[in-house]
């Protein structure tokens, strides 16, 4: 499902808190309803993205894993 993705963030190799910080910074630049695809390798990002979405009200539309890479698809609130 690559259609409708507004912005892809390559966060591979980054550690806490950068995946979330960079995502929040990118989200700030986008409009409500825009979709972010975030690719991360930090295993902690799985719980962090879930918590961040829950707390900020952004919607975690999709989450998957391909080898060591975690993929999150988030729709901005």
């Amino acid at each position: 499902m690559s259609q409708g993705i507004t912005k892809t963030l390559d966060l591979k190799g980054l550690s806490c808190p950068l995946p979330i910080v960079k995502t929040a910074q990118a989200a700030k630049e986008l409009q409500s309803g825009d979709v972010i695809e975030a690719l991360a390798t930090d295993p902690g990002s799985v719980a962090d993205f879930a918590a961040w979405c829950k707390s900020t009200g952004n919607e975690l539309v999709e989450q998957s894993q391909d080898g060591a890479v975690f993929r999150f698809v988030i729709r901005k609130k």
């Binding site: 808190p17 910080v21 929040a24 910074q25 900020t56």
Partner: protein, 175 residues
Amino acid sequence: MATEEMTLSVPVHEHEEHAHKKLVIIAWSGDLDKVWPQMILATTGAALGMETTIFFTFWGLFSLVKDNKRITGENWMQKMVAMMDHPGVDHLKLGKMNFAGAGPVMMKKLAKEHSVASPGELLQLAVDMGVKLVPCQMTMDLLGLKREDMIDGLGEPAGATVMLTESQDAITLFI
């Protein structure tokens, strides 16, 4: 009758919004192993959309001194403190296992290998994300630190009263 009074004070709204929207970090320590979490939590707070403030006091204030300032202070005692505690966020020591500077060097090397952002990088990110950085006026006077000794992007120096007032409806962390 005491029971009756207590019953009255039970909150009525069971499903109100519990999420805190403010984060106040009192950055007291200037040790690398404390400044790091100060910066990690501040940037994360901002990422969560929380109105985030760091109040830098006592040894914590050295993180805000420009890295190229070696000796700060106006009198010999203040200068001695700066001699012993090299100010600036890139010159922090570890609270534990400092080993005359070998500890921080190893920590920073490990951090680089694991792509963990340095406290300095995180401090810059905090500024970019609108985290309010408030230096403690009293500590500035105590250490003889002037505004021109310190990095750009700081808020007005303030005191304990301002910080506690800010903290009233916030999560507060003392690090």
